[in-house]
Amino acid sequence: MDTQIFTEISLSEILVELLLMPVIAFLVGLVMVLWMRKIGARVQRRIGPPLFQPLYDVVKLFGKKTQVSHGVVHDIGIVMAMGGYIAAETLLPVPGMNGIAVYGGIITLTYLMMIPSLGLALGVGQCANPNGSIGISRALTAMLAYDIPFVIIVFGVAFHHETTNLVEIITQQQQAGIASWGAVQNPLLALAGLATLQGMLGKQPFEIYIAPAEIATGPMVEMSGKYLGGLFVMQAFQLYTAAVLYVSLFLGGGESWFELLAKSFVVVSIPMMIAFVFPRYRTEDLVRLFWKWPVMIGLLGVAFVG
């Protein structure tokens, strides 16, 4: 089937998709940021930001008159952080657009999603601020923690569908309605996936690397103007990517954009609702937690995949 796809899609179509997919991801991501802040506001019994607040923030930050750079690597880091996600979006199939998903697959996507973290880490390292370095050390530790259950899930899903091709995985899930969804077929994996999602988004109780009261927002400590704006963009992409990936793996993707977005927003809501009523774990507690429960559930889930 792969070889067929290789030839079927025309170049111009791919180019259009490559352009469209990140743009859509960015816009949807911004709405997700708004959604997140609104949920937080509701939990905290207040009104919350206006509708276009995330957009205002990003535009304002990019339009700041004076901005501080600590060196070339600082710039490159932010570019890598944004660019990594822009690239990752094209590997994430959405209704009507497969982009280049067939050439990458889920393993490539998993590793591509580490590029922004690495870029951010480089940029922050150049800032020569130990608060930032501690933040990065914590962020990477958290990555070590949540990526292990994550790869178990990826393995389980790929093993279940006998392919690493996301397009194929989604197609298989859409064959028999809800019954063929990953979440129904492998509920344990889906459960472990939720925990991983929480860690991946870095929300409480797994928010160690921002931790304003401890390390003054860690990686963001020296970010001004477009640097911070880049991180805001990255956050929007991250929310979108994580949600759509989860939907693609467990909730049958979306046959239409409406379906996909509805599912994604539901998925995003879950970690957000958890996030606002929990403090953050310490680093080692976080690692212990991730290596215990989600890993256990994930392994059990894979065992049932059979």
């Binding site: 957009l55 535009v59 060196g71």
Partner: protein, 225 residues
């Protein structure tokens, strides 16, 4: 202090004007205030921030470090020790930046006019965009102050941050008077003014000369082969 003319910023071609307009529009709606409790007025900020008054409605949210913030809230008296940090913080913030003097103490020293430890007139050390008087002003007053700041920004009338670059000598002079001639922050304000084309008539002067004589030059570390 020399009176400076606020430049007409709606210049250039249509595209850049539209871009400027968009920037102003978004800037007015997204204001990050620095989480820095300089004095007792800070006690009224949590109510402003939290569920009852909820300043996030206005697009205002607290930020942790000066790099990220747009608004420096001087919440009340500033002791001289704090004033030094406030100066550093102000200089580290990215322009456009706005200073709001909350509480009467920022205007004239307030209750502490006799005190040897607090600075009296904030305006001498940094350009203040807005005062919210009161001891301390109620959350409603702060919200209304923020609203008027937002309005001013949208109208393009809140350009006091430029004053700091354009009249740097005046501000530096006042700082030197209080902190001594050896005073130097790690921020290269003159370099910044030159880099961004914000040099004005009052950027250089006798005080900057003193600074340039005594300072330890803090140039960026450029990459070199």
């Amino acid at each position: 202090m020399k009176e400076i003319k606020v430049e007409n910023r709606r210049e250039g071609n249509i595209l850049s004007r539209v871009f400027d307009e968009l920037n102003e529009f978004c800037r007015a709606r997204s204001l990050f205030i620095l989480h820095y409790c300089t004095g007792c007025g800070a006690i009224e900020l949590p109510p402003v921030m939290t569920s009852r008054f909820d300043m996030e409605r206005l697009g205002v949210q607290p930020m942790v470090t000066p790099r990220q913030a747009d608004i420096l809230l001087i919440t009340g008296y500033v002791s001289i020790k704090t004033l030094k940090r406030v100066m550093l913080t102000y200089e580290q913030m990215g322009s456009p930046k706005y200073v709001i003097g909350i509480c009467s103490c920022t205007v004239n020293g307030g209750m502490y006019w006799q005190s040897y430890a607090t600075a009296k007139k904030l305006d001498e050390y940094m350009p203040v965009d807005l005062y919210i008087a009161g001891c301390m002003p109620r959350p409603e007053a702060i919200i209304s102050g923020l609203r008027s700041l937002i309005r001013n920004i949208e109208l393009g009338e809140s350009n006091n941050w430029k004053k700091y670059y354009e009249n740097y000598d005046y501000y530096l002079g006042n700082q030197q008077k209080l902190f001594g001639d050896e005073w130097q922050t790690p921020v290269d304000v003159i370099g910044e003014a030159e880099h961004y084309g914000l040099v004005g008539e009052g950027t250089y002067g006798e005080h900057t000369e003193i600074l340039q004589r005594v300072q330890q030059p803090l140039k960026p570390l450029e990459m070199r082969l």
